[in-house]
Symmetry: C2
Subunit: 227 residues, 2 copies
């Protein structure tokens, strides 16, 4: 039974990679940079997006919102007057705990690719499966809240290992926690040495300028010309 | 492709339920009550277990620790001198984001069922898939940290809907958050009206006596006599 199960997963991942490449080619053709944005539930992805999405100099942002159910985050972001597309994994996908390349592909014709420079795909809140499925992104950004504790890089290594930037969020809560950020960073370096990281607080705005700069430079670095 | 995928999931869930029933019969035969203990990563499951596992009057506790990788939580709990069995979903299970009945069954012969009254199965940190797989438990207890925000019951309804007790944890952080616990409870009632809930802080000990009482009464209520 086990062997069969693994085989199914491998085939699914292989098909996923094929579709992810097709997505990536479409994004490239339109000159759109794509961020796969991931975290555990409640780590602060939406708030960190709200902080910058309407305020990136010279960069037109679009958002693809992945959720099991509901459109609360999409509603929050729409108030910033950036185009937001909602993707629910519940109806039709059986309540998937992650986005995959085919789900993103099914939303492709809804995305205003000619009107944006940067697409942020907000994944389902989960530290396991989203890391296994490429969706056509250029980079992966994850949010780790200090409230989750120091040990999470060691317990969910694939997520921390496969991302390009880690936003360590809720820094304002550190005085009220039994958590040492140095130990968290030490564990991060143990699974992904020298990965870029920014210490931020979506609540106080600490580090948000650096997060804004990081995204602006990501878009500036794109090589392909927009069609 | 979709139809095929749904079919596989349904068959897997059906097989899972069959094995879960077999697990439950084994637990019942030994007079052991079983809690499936779930939450998002870093919500405080292990700390809430540490608070009570070695200190339940007249109740012998055992723990089955589910993790993608590592044994940090098992090491923490072993220091309380309760029997702890580690189950990693990474090797052999392909990094699963949840425990299923077959994984628990594979650990059955390692569990000291004749020496315990209560088995707490600490699931993988995830608000989606663990809710879909029964493992043979009597009850489901979940931890929701107030740091995760007020909206989580609405975004991950299956988890909140299928549990028997919700521990609202990290209450000590409320003064430092833009979160109203009343709104969180309102959202909880929207998806699971009148489900039992305890307001707790693993850090300060608030509500821990009530959590201890809840578990003690759960064990006292078992009807089957131990073999």
């Amino acid at each position: 039974m086990h062997r069969t199960k693994v085989k199914i997963v491998e085939e699914a991942l292989d098909a996923n990679n094929t579709i992810a490449r097709a997505n990536r080619e479409d994004f490239d053709r339109h000159g759109v940079r794509v961020v796969n944005f991931m975290s555990a539930p409640g780590a602060g992805k939406t708030t960190l997006l709200e902080r910058v999405a309407g305020d990136l100099p010279g960069v037109r942002v679009g958002v693809l919102e992945g959720d099991v159910q509901g459109s609360m985050d999409a509603d929050r972001l729409a108030s910033l007057h950036v185009p937001v597309t909602q993707l629910n994994t519940d109806p039709g996908f059986g309540g998937e705990c992650h986005l995959d390349a085919n789900m993103v592909r099914s939303a492709m014709h809804e995305l205003p690719l000619d009107e944006i420079d940067l697409l942020v795909i907000e994944n389902v809140g989960n530290l396991v499966c989203p890391a296994e499925f490429r969706v056509g992104e250029d980079v992966r950004v994850m949010v780790a809240s200090v409230t989750e504790g120091e040990d999470k890089p060691l317990k969910y290594p694939l997520m921390f290992r496969t991302c390009d930037l880690v936003l360590i969020n809720k820094l304002d809560l550190l005085p009220h926690l039994d958590v040492e950020v140095d130990r968290l960073l030490h564990n991060l370096d143990a699974v992904h040495p020298d990965v870029e990281r920014l210490l931020v607080s979506a609540r106080t705005g600490e580090g948000v300028d650096e997060w804004r700069t990081w995204l602006t430079e990501l878009v500036a670095s794109r090589s392909g010309a927009a069609v």
